[in-house]
Symmetry: C2
Subunit: 206 residues, 2 copies
DNA sequence: CCCGACTGAATGAATCCTCACTCAGTCAGC
DNA sequence: GCTGACTGAGTGAGGATTCATTCAGTCGGG
């Protein structure tokens, strides 16, 4: 009812329903886990009929993929842009760490899907790891670290790939622990604590 | 019925079948993921009929729990014993890291279950995280670190809990990455590389 | 303006397949 | 022959997906 401007009602910005379904699915997956979530639950949460879900997504699995793809694409894009402005590799890594935890800390449901639900199958892990988003992220950390090695800021004898994994793992664990914890603390400040130790560990002697 | 005599006869003395089922389940879960694994698959892999599985386990879920419990119990037990012999907190942490990766590196299927399948549901994560094994493990790292802080070996201003999570996260990521990687490299040596960086990061200035 | 034909997004009951789990039997050992 | 470990076909529930139907909205012609 109401003030429908027909210009926008023909194509409700396409996203309307699709977005609603994605958001609902994130919530439902986060609460019940992917395998225990019924498509009907998602539909109800989105205020939509069961069948409507299938007008926007081929299958339940595609919904999960879409959640991941959308969030990851945006994060990497935003990340790259922020980093352009920074020169010092140390500062870049600090920024990466903060962005990492900021993103996850900003949307608990999305964080749960990322930290828990997406890990629940080797198949998916392999897909998404191979598919590249994850590799791309690790590569970004690694490249930044190598930059710092070339500049003599970081110890040259360290294996950059291992270092990147290590940093990622540390941040990842902060996020996972934060999700599982009952106590509500701030996630973001931990980025700086982690980076303090990390940078101290990898920096070349002066 | 439960007469005194039958201490060990409730279950066959040497529990061949039970072990076989657990081993088979580990393999099947690792290959297909928990939710995509059929009990029938497990039975077949164990060389046993479907029904037999239910003579030893109450449900499919109980199988997963049993895999986790058995492996974790043994690991913690063995770990504690090894550590008793060591004094230097640094050395203790190094040993923990090595043990961590040795265990996972020794049985790829078990590692997959640990790194991937057990993470696949918040419910389980919370259970097992709360249930304590995981908390106990983190606590062990933390206590060792605090010991080092008291001894003046490690920087006193660091938050021991965060440090423990960080180390765990780093090791965890080494393991996960190793599992997902196609390339077959040795997992254990990474423990020392990680510890080099880590210890360098947390040690007090001399 | 209003009408009737038309469109296609949305619906949700019905379908249909997939398993986890059960239980009536079989069989081996004593 | 009895016991109890073992079997595996069968069952029933659950839940992803489908599709016949509805109906709000659009549009051209009068």
């Amino acid at each position: 009812m109401g003030t429908a401007r027909s210009l926008s009602t023909v194509r409700p910005v396409v996203n309307d329903k699709r977005e609603a379904i994605l958001r609902a699915a994130t919530q439902v997956f986060a609460r019940n886990g992917y395998f225990n979530s019924k498509v009907a639950d998602i539909a109800r949460a989105a205020g939509v009929a069961d069948g409507t879900v299938y007008l926007y997504f081929k299958s339940k699995e595609e919904i999960l993929h879409s959640i991941f793809d959308a969030a990851m694409e945006e994060a990497i894009h935003a990340g790259r842009k922020e980093l352009e402005a920074i020169d010092d590799p140390r500062e870049k890594l600090r920024r990466i760490a903060r962005l990492h935890l900021e993103r996850l800390g900003a949307d608990r449901d999305l964080a749960v899907v990322f930290q828990v639900e997406l890990r629940g199958s080797t198949k998916f892990m392999e897909e998404f790891s191979a598919a590249g988003f994850f590799a791309e992220y690790l590569g970004m950390i690694r490249a930044t670290f190598e930059e710092g090695q070339r500049a003599g800021i970081f110890r040259r004898e360290l294996n950059a790939k291992l270092v990147a994994k290590m940093l990622f793992g540390a941040l990842d664990e902060m996020a996972t622990n934060w999700i599982l914890s009952r106590r509500r603390y701030k996630l973001v400040p931990m980025a700086d604590e982690v980076m303090d130790i990390f940078l101290n560990g990898v920096s070349a002697a002066i």
